[in-house]
Amino acid sequence: MSRLARAVLRRLLVLLPTLLGITLLTFALLHLLPGDGAALRFGGEGADPGAVDAAAFERFRAEHLLDAPLWRQYLDYLGPFDLSPRGHAWFGGSGEQPWGGLLAGDLGRELLRPSVGIAGELAQRLAITVPMSLAAAALIFGIGWPLGVLLAVRRGTAIARTLEVLLFALYALPTFWLGMALQSLLGGGGLGWLPVVGLHGRDADSAAPLHYALDTLAHAVLPLVALVAPSLAYVARQARSSVLEVLDADFVLCARARGSSERQVLWRHVVPNALTPLVTLVGQTLPWLVGGWVVIETVFELPGMGKYAYDGLMRREYGVVAACVLLSALLTALGHLASDLAQAWIDPRVRLD
């Protein structure tokens, strides 16, 4: 096995205990929150106790193991045995559905909408969040890096200074505020240029394919801008300072002393050396975007994974939140691995071990 394959395999093996730890932590944190799915389903905290069907309430809690000790709930979640009353016979169940839980590849069903499988719902929502994230990453780095290089090369000019102040302001803005500001400025209440909620217009389903695509694109603009702008500002500022640092290096001076033009110096020496250490950022952006989507999808009411996680948290859908957190953790780990690989590929000095 090659050195590279061994390095990758080792990272993936280390990933397993990490993910296990994350499931445990998520599970514990969620159960620290007051209330549970049963309480919400049967009227919530403030409901009149007399109106609640106490027997049904208790039955629901028992069916979903909500009355069991935490360790039993966790093991049920982890699998591969189903520990509920209908679960594996070894654990006192009726044996109707012996297997279940994460290790059996089962993310479970929602508590309040038992007809909805979490895995299927998540897949549907990822079909929205993943393309949006890729578009966001492309915008962040496709604009941020060239902008940073430009700001460094043109440092000291009036345009560069103005842009720097602007970028700093963008970087400082909270995402949710920017989203809401864009909504009220460009949406129906303001200029009315762009749709501000959802992913499609009301009659999108009956529209022609081209019209449907344009409609989706129009709905994606504002959420993308709100999510991308602060990150883009951050990335551009980072690229700028990295380029400025390399511009002062002796090998740049030497290249100039050999009569290389500024353009040659920039593309052959400065940009590759300045951006190489920043490549690691790309892989780390993906999980960071997931966090951003929780806010943005909620503000813009997009039915993506971020909104799913937020709603799940509000409804005490442990399975939903745990699945979203686990997926983010997996993305984070894979993102880091991917950026390390990219780094090793680009930078001849880096060796994976």
Partner: protein, 322 residues
């Protein structure tokens, strides 16, 4: 036509919070083809700024100007980008102090040299690369081609840098502290290499250094700089054996590698002045044992003392007695 690089009234200053501060104050310098010229002085005296300015270069935040710049009898403008590109590399090369940043950390030895050769002409072949590496004293250059800078020793890196500087075929080489951060043996090796380039290839070499022994070894002329001005100039060995300026004397007295070894080193009280160029008088006056009233009121100029010897110290110039 004289084959020489000649600059008059060279000034370099850097932007500070309190305005421009002079680093080099109107220095005249002549570097002949096939000859060596060393510049010595302590850190911050402006010798490196002077060296870079000879290529029209300045570090970030600086500016440079020259009253005149003549190369092989032809006047050049340091202000026009086209003439600067023609000047750099093809006429005058640069060798910097060895450091982790002196070579591009991402490029192999071969790609460094190809890039350097490419700056002169396209289609640089591997034979030219190997030839250049042999020229700077590598016995088995083929083994070196794929190596990256961090896989080379300091001395090797320095020679690779020199090969890059020579790739464009300059007639003059500016070497800024080429031996600093190398051990004594490697430093000698680099100086010997520079001396052989002067002798065999008629290169004009200007070496900036704070290593007096290296200056003596390279031979040729020697200029001693203090606070942005040249205070004494002459043939290197003669000047080091019979210094006239009190600052040169102090430099030699503070030099560790001189015999007899049991004689204690002598330091120089005080520190190099800040902003001395903005004040009247001799910049060295505050630390000088010979200083008198006139030294503090008017700035001494470099005067001819004997053929090839120049001195900017009125008390000593008079003492030499006409």
């Amino acid at each position: 036509m004289s084959e020489a690089l000649e600059v008059r009234g060279l000034r370099v200053s850097y932007a500070t919070r309190s305005g421009w501060r002079g680093a080099v104050a109107g220095v005249d310098l002549r570097l002949e083809r096939g000859a060596a010229h060393s510049i010595v002085g302590e850190s911050g005296c402006g010798k490196s700024s002077l060296a870079l300015a000879l290529l029209g270069l300045v570090r970030t935040g600086g500016r440079r100007e020259a009253a005149s710049y003549t190369l092989d009898g032809r006047a050049w403008s340091l202000e026009r980008p086209e003439t600067l590109r023609e000047l750099r590399g093809r006429r005058v090369g640069l060798l910097l102090q060895e450091s982790a940043q002196a070579l591009d950390p991402r490029l192999s030895v071969e790609r460094h040299l190809r890039a350097a050769l490419g700056a002169a002409r396209e289609g640089a072949g591997r034979e030219r690369v190997l030839e250049l590496l042999a020229r700077v004293g590598f016995d088995a250059p083929v083994d070196l081609l794929a190596r990256l800078p961090h896989e080379l020793s300091g001395g090797m890196r320095q020679r690779v840098q020199l090969a890059c500087a020579l790739a464009t075929g300059p007639s003059y080489l500016i070497a800024d502290e080429p031996t600093a951060s190398l051990d004594a043996l490697l430093a000698r090796r680099i100086v010997t290499l520079l001396a052989s380039l002067v002798e065999r290839e008629r290169l004009g070499v200007l070496m900036v250094t704070h290593d007096l022994a290296a200056a003596a070894e390279l031979g040729g002329a020697l200029s001693v700089m203090y606070a942005g001005t040249v205070v004494e100039r002459g043939p290197a060995r003669e000047l080091l054996l019979a210094p006239r300026h009190p600052y040169t004397e102090a430099l030699i007295a503070a030099c560790a590698a001189r015999e007899p070894f049991d004689e204690p080193l002598r330091g120089l009280p005080g520190a190099a002045p800040q902003g001395a160029l903005e004040r009247d008088g001799c910049a060295f006056a505050a630390r000088c044992p010979l200083a008198r009233g006139a030294c503090r009121s008017s700035r001494p100029t470099l005067l001819k003392l004997a053929p090839g010897r120049e001195l900017a110290c009125p008390p000593r110039a008079e003492g030499a007695g006409r």
